[in-house]
C-alpha cells in the first residue's frame, strides 16, 4: 500500500516532464522518421509512400557526401584549432587578476554576438576590395609582384573554390573559441591547489607540468568539449548559409545547407527529412565513438 502511494507520487511528479518531452521531442522525431518514407513537397497534404527510396537516393547522392566531407573538414581543422587555442589561452590566463577577467570577457564576446552579425562582419573582413585580408596582403607586398601564372589576380576569398571553406572555418573558430576558453578556464580553476603546489615542489615546471599535470586533469572538460565540437560542426548551418550559401560551386556545402536546399528549393521534404535523420545518426555515432575513445582517463580519476 505504502509502496503504491510512493509510485503514484513519483509518477505524478515525473508525468509533466515526460509528457512534454514526449510531445515536443520524441513525437516530432518519430514523425520525421515517418516523413522520410514519403515523397512530399511540404506544400500540400499529398504524400506518396516510397519506402526507403529517399535513403537510397541520399546514399547515392554525391552532393551529400561532398557536404559531409566539408563537415568533416570543419570538425577536424576547426575543432583542432579550437582545442589548441582554447587550452593554450586558458592555461595562459590563470589567476584572478583584473586582466584575466577582462580577457575572458573579450574572448567570449564573439560567442554572444548574433550569427547574422558575425557573418556580415566577416563578409567585410573577406571583402575583395576593402577587406582586412586584402589590405593585409597588400600591406605586406602581396600585390607587388603579380603572379605571372594567373591572368587575373583574384582577391576574391568567399568566391574562390579553394579559399572559401578555410575562410568559413576561420570564422567558425573565431566565433566558437571563446566558449571553449571559458570551459577550460573553469576546468583549470577546478584543479586542486594542493596538486598544483605539490607538482611545483616536485620540480614540475613549464611545459612539463602542463603536459603531466594540467592536461590530464582537464580530461573530462576536454571530452565534453570534443562532444560539443562534434555537434556544432556537424550541425553548422546559419554561418555557412549567410556567408556563402554553400558556394562557390558547392565548395562550402554542408549537410544542413543541403537539407535546406532539398526542403525549400527542391520542395522535397522526404529527401530533406531523410538527410535530417542521417545527420542525426552521424552526430550520434561520432559522439559515441569520441566517448568510447576518450573513456580511459589518463589522470586515473574515476568519475
Amino acid at each position: 500500500m505504502r509502496n503504491r502511494g510512493r509510485t503514484a507520487f513519483i509518477i505524478s511528479y515525473l508525468a509533466p516532464a515526460v509528457i512534454l518531452y514526449g510531445v515536443f521531442v520524441i513525437l516530432p522525431v518519430l514523425q520525421a522518421v515517418g516523413f522520410s518514407l514519403f515523397k512530399w513537397s511540404g506544400l500540400s497534404s499529398k504524400k506518396t509512400y516510397v519506402g526507403f527510396d529517399n535513403f537510397k537516393q541520399l546514399f547515392h547522392d554525391n552532393v551529400f557526401w561532398e557536404a559531409l566531407l566539408h563537415n568533416a573538414w570543419i570538425f577536424v581543422f576547426g575543432g583542432t584549432a579550437i582545442l589548441v587555442i582554447a587550452i593554450a589561452v586558458a592555461h595562459g590566463m590563470q589567476g584572478e587578476s583584473k586582466l584575466t577577467k577582462t580577457l575572458r570577457g573579450v574572448y567570449l564576446f564573439p560567442n554572444i554576438m548574433s550569427l547574422v552579425v558575425v557573418a556580415i562582419l566577416w563578409e567585410f573582413v573577406y571583402d575583395p576590395h576593402i577587406g582586412l585580408v586584402t589590405s593585409l596582403v597588400k600591406l605586406f607586398g602581396g600585390s607587388a609582384k603579380p603572379n605571372p601564372l594567373a591572368p587575373i589576380q583574384d582577391t576574391s576569398i568567399l568566391g574562390n573554390p579553394t579559399k572559401a571553406l578555410p575562410a568559413v572555418i576561420i570564422t567558425f573558430v573565431w566565433f566558437a573559441v571563446g566558449f571553449y576558453i571559458m570551459l577550460f578556464s573553469a576546468g583549470i580553476r577546478q584543479i586542486p591547489q594542493e596538486v598544483a603546489e605539490a607538482s611545483k615542489l616536485d620540480g614540475a615546471e613549464g611545459i612539463f607540468r602542463f603536459r603531466k599535470i594540467t592536461l590530464p586533469l582537464l580530461w573530462s572538460v576536454g571530452r565534453i568539449s570534443v562532444i560539443y565540437i562534434v555537434i556544432n560542426t556537424l550541425n553548422v548551418f546559419a554561418l555557412v548559409y549567410l556567408m556563402t550559401q554553400g558556394g562557390p560551386d558547392r565548395k562550402t556545402e554542408v549537410m544542413l545547407t543541403y537539407l535546406y536546399e532539398q526542403a525549400f528549393v527542391n520542395s522535397d521534404y522526404g529527401a530533406a527529412t531523410a538527410l535530417a535523420i542521417a545527420n542525426f545518426v552521424i552526430v550520434m555515432a561520432v559522439s559515441g565513438i569520441v566517448m568510447g575513445l576518450t573513456r580511459k582517463d589518463p589522470s586515473g580519476a574515476h568519475h
Binding site: L27, P28, Q31, A32, F35, K39, S41, G42, L43, S44, S45, K46, S114, L115, V116, I120, E123, Y126, D127, P128, H129, T134, P151, I152, Q153, D154, T155, S156, I157, L158, G159, N160, P161, F237, A238, Y241, L242, T244, Q245, G247, P248, D249, R250, L256, L259, Y260, E261, A263, F264, V265, N266, S267, Y269, A272, T273, A276
Partner: protein
Amino acid sequence: MKTHVSAIYAAIGALGLLLAGCSGGSGEPTAANAGNGKDLEVVSFQGGFGIEFFQKAAKEYEAKHAGVHITVTGGPRVWEQLRPRFANGTPPSLTWPGWGMDYWALIYDKQVFPLDDALKTPAADGKTVWKDTFDASLLKLGEYQGKQYELPYHYNIMGWWYNPDTFAKHGWKVPKTFKELVDLCPKIKAAGMAPITYQGMYPDYTIKGFLFPWAISVGGIKAADDAQSLVPGAWKSDAFLQAAKMVKQLRDSGFFEDGASGLSHTQSQTDFLAGKAAFIPCGTWLESEMRKTMPPGAKMAFMLPPVVDGGKGDPSAIMIGIEPWIIPTGGSNHDLAIDFYKYMTSLDKAKQFITECGTLTAIKGSDQVTLPPLLVEPARLFRESKTVYSIQFDTWYSTLGTESKNAMAALLNGSNTPEQFVDRLEAAAEKVRQDKSKPVHKMTH
C-alpha cells in the same frame, strides 16, 4: 532582390521543417477559413516595393464594397510562413509569395486555383475582357498545361547598366556588339576602372546577364527555348558553348572586376555605383534596391547586353521576369479574391503602381504615364522588341537551376572550361529528363 540580412529567417525556415512536421493536417479547407464571403486575407512578399500600395488598394476597395474586410500582411521571407499554411490547407485568399516560393510545386499539387474562367469575365472597367488587359507575352508565363495559374502584376527587365556621364566624359560609345565591347574594355581599364563587375555570390545574375543573351544571340531564340524545354543536346549546343566561351574570354582578358566572384549583389552594385566598374548586369529593380546606399550624383542607364557579331539571334531580344500572384485553391472566397485582383489590375491602379513603386506592370497601356526616368529606356526596348523571353527552367527544374548556378560559378572562377560547363548542364538536364516524376514544360516562341 535578395534581402540578404533577413537570411536569418532561413534558420527559422529550417526549424519550420520540424514545425510543419508537427502539424501534418489535412489539405481540405476548414470551417475556420471558409469565411463569410466578405473577408479576404492577402499575403504579399515585402521587398523593395513594400506592401503599402496593396494595403491602400484594400482600403479603397473596402470603401467601394460595403461589408468587405480585407487584411494585407507581408514579410521579406513570407514564403517561409506560407509553406506550412499550404501544407495545412489554410492558405490566404490571395498571395504574392515572393521569389523563394516554389510556385510550380504548388501548381503540381493542385494548390493553385486555375483562373481561365475568371479571365474570360469583364475586367474592372466592365468593358474589356480581363484577359485582354494583360500583356500576352507576360500572361503566358503563368500557364501550365494550357491553364492559367499565375497572374503577373509587375515585371522586371533584365539587362546591363552603365554610367552615361562616365561614358560621355571619356568619349566612350556604348557597345552594341561583343566586338565593340571587347575593343572598349582595354580603354576602360586604361582609365583605371574595371570594365565589368558582377554579383559573384549569386550566379543567376550572370546566367541571365551573360549566358542566355549570348546563347540567343549566337543561336537564335530557339537555342534558349530548346534548352529550357530540355530538348536533348540543347544545353551543350554550339550556342551555349559559344556563350560560355565569351564569358571565359572576358575573364581571361581580365575584363571582370578583380574579386568579383566573391562579391554579393549589394557589394558589386555598390562598386558599380561608386564608379569602380563600367558595366553590371542587373534587372530594373536596381534603383529601388540601391536607393538607400546610392552615392549622391550616381548616374546609370540601361542597355541590352552587347550582341554577337553575325549571330542568328534577334538583336532586339529582351529578357523579362514576372512576379506572380496566385489564388490558393484552399483559400476562402475565390470570387472576392478575383474581384479584388481585378481592381488592382485596373489601368488606373497599374499606372499608380508604376509611379509610386517605380516598376513596370503587366497591364497593357499602363506605361502611358510619366515613367520614372530610369524606366523609360527599358520600357521602350520592351515595347519595340520582337522577341520577349523569360528564364523559367530554374524554377521548373530546381536541380537544373542549382547546377546551372554552380557551373556558372565554376566557369567564372576558372575551375571549369566552357566545354565542362556545357557538359555539366547537359548532364543535369538529362537527369531531369530521366526523372519521370517531374512534369515536362515546353517553351516556344
